[in-house]
């Protein structure tokens, strides 16, 4: 399988109001092959969203990439100008966002928003004449409308011909999410980035959405980066998983292997924290994410780690191989610890 996307040692940070340098991502490395699904897993604030925004090129203005590279089909995206980047949005990668109800513009119909994407996706600017031409041409208008209906049908939305003319507020959460998936699939992207789709929805609806996503992605042989804090979903969907903590990848590898035999205490803690239908008491990980302004040398997890030793404070543990199949963990005690999940 050829590598479609390769993130190498990505460092992202910003300078806050007091002039202090804050690091959000540190040394992030990922790889994604054609047709593969990877999951980025971690607590809120660990940097999963920032990573995906970096790939899409939609980082907030105050964030700056301090180092590393993002290679898509060999080209470093960080060296592209905005026009080149924009051309990739649609055919190369798209986004399925987290909040369905607020991710569609409320004052335009679904059809109108799809119209502009179908007609103009990937372009940097649209002149006045170009804007009106497809709208005034009946054949083109009709073709685009048909394409929209087809896209909506593909995500199993009922009565797509009517839905085209509805406003987003007339849709339920589940319907909106499907519309957003349809939108993301419009340009036939090579990578779909799904940022916790469904977290805002009921569990049953969320399951439907995930099934739909999985099915569509497989049918088109599209790669997917699925971001979530829910390990259960990650284990169902993803071929490989990356566990993130405080802006770093602490463990990665084939999903089955990582969850069955975790090598990093954080992963183990996460797995233990998943509520199971048994009599076991709740098991959390004590403490909270560290303050990103107060980083020091040494493992960022050691404060909460039940297996920490003095050496953990000394230096940052590198992401080392712990097994042959690409399973890596960033813990100096990775090999010796027998962690149960």
């Amino acid at each position: 399988m050829s590598t479609l996307l390769e993130v190498e040692d990505l460092d992202i940070g910003f300078r806050d109001a007091d002039g202090v340098e804050v690091t959000l991502l540190s040394g992030i490395s990922l790889s994604l092959a054609r047709g593969e699904i990877i999951a980025l897993v971690g607590e809120s604030g660990c940097g999963k969203s920032v990573t995906s925004k970096a790939v899409l090129g939609v980082l907030a203005d105050n964030l700056s990439v301090r180092g590393g590279a993002i290679r898509f089909e060999g080209r470093d995206l960080l060296e592209l100008d905005e026009a080149a980047y924009q051309a990739l949005r649609g055919p190369a990668f798209t986004l399925v966002p987290q909040h369905p109800l607020s991710s569609l513009n409320p004052v335009f119909t679904v059809g109108e928003q799809f119209f502009d994407l179908i007609a103009f996706q990937g372009r940097t600017r649209v002149g006045a004449i170009e804007y009106w031409r497809p709208r005034l041409n009946r054949a083109r208008r009709h073709a685009i409308r048909e394409r929209t209906i087809e896209a909506l049908r593909e995500v199993s939305l009922p009565s797509p011909e009517e839905l085209v003319d509805r406003y987003p507020l007339q849709l339920s959460g589940g319907q909106s999410q499907r519309v957003l998936i349809a939108m993301a699939l419009l340009g036939d992207p090579k990578i779909v980035i799904a940022d916790e789709p469904g977290t805002a929805l009921d569990v049953t609806i969320e399951a439907q959405i995930n099934d739909l996503l999985l099915e569509r992605v497989h049918a088109r042989n599209t790669s997917m980066i699925y971001i979530t804090h829910d390990l259960g979903i990650a284990s169902q969907l993803a071929d490989r998983v990356y566990v993130m903590y405080a802006g770093r990848v602490v463990e990665d590898g084939p999903t089955g292997r990582v969850f069955a035999a975790p090598r990093h205490p954080y992963t183990a803690g996460l797995l233990k924290a998943v509520p199971k239908v048994t009599d076991e008491p709740f098991a959390g990980i004590r403490g909270t994410l560290p303050d990103p302004k107060a980083v020091d040398a040494g493992c960022a997890f050691r404060w909460r780690c039940p297996h920490a030793v003095d050496a953990c404070a000394g230096s940052l543990p590198p992401l080392d191989q712990v097994a042959d199949d690409g399973h890596r963990a960033a813990c100096i005690r990775a090999r010796e610890l027998e962690l149960s999940s």
Binding site: K53, L56, V58, Q86, R89, G90, T94, L95, P97, Q98, H99, S102, S103, L104, N105, P106, V107, F108, Q113, D116, L117, F120, Q121, G122, R123, T124, R125, V126, Y131, Y167, L169, Q170, L180, M183, A184, L186, G187, I193
Partner: protein, 336 residues
Amino acid sequence: MRFVLRRIAELAVVMFGLSVLIFVISRVLPGDPVRFALGPQATEEQIAQLSREMGLDQPMVVQYWRLIKGLFQGDLGVSLTTFRPIAGDLLTFLPASLELAFVGMALAIVVGVPLGVMTAVHRNKGRDFVGRALAFSGVALPVFWFALLVQMLFSFEMRIFPPLGRIDADVAPPPSVTGSFLIDSLLALDFGLFLHLLSFVVLPAIVLAASPMAMILRLLRASMLDEMGKDYVLTARANGMPRNLLIYKYMLRNAFSATLTIIGLLFGFFIGGAFIVETVFSWPGIGRYGVRALQFKDFNAIIAVTLVVGMAYAAANTLVTVLYGWLDPRLRLGGR
């Protein structure tokens, strides 16, 4: 539809309250209007007679009823200075005020909206600071002072524009179709006249538009910046929506909705500003008429002008609210 009806009902209530308020103020305040009008030399007889004519000796309720009746019949009383029916005077001067207001509003929007978008899109760069400085000054500027400065500089010193009036005294206005000299001159295909008229309206319109333009700029900038943080913007951007479409179609539409909420306030500025601008530039509108009435203590005219202005303002606000509801489907369809 129900939305519109409710708004109209509210408007009616407000108008009623307005008429009561103005009436109460006019009758309850100390000071005898008749004495004001007739001046210190008036005899007791003259005062008594005028009081009777004006119905000031009747009980309050009767006076109020006469006022309301007159309003519906289009009779606003007789001016104590010109001795002409006020309603007629107002109608004569209304077109000029409307014309000035429209030109001013157009200017404020045409300058304010693009600047507002530009300063938001180019946030914290040079253009942003200049735009914001302009807007800031516009809001703090005393209208009458600005009017005098502009008049002094461009009319008296540089002699580019005429200082006073709407048209030269020896030039004939265009045949009346709409009441707006500018439009009527275009309709008559008299472009020379059009330019001539334009030279008169330019300075007062600029002065009138200064504050509202500043307000539009600031509010639009803030609204656009708000929009930039919204989820749909991120999604659209990430999925390849062209930038200028995103800004000028999708974001601006939302931001504009927020700006419309202050349009009511802007009307208020336009009306108040018109009183001053029309006085300084001798623009023959209702504002100038009103100020004259105020300075001459023309009791009837003051009441009539205040009432008419208040009602027009309330009606305009209601119109805007209805428009706002039409623009934003959320309100129409009973959303959040």
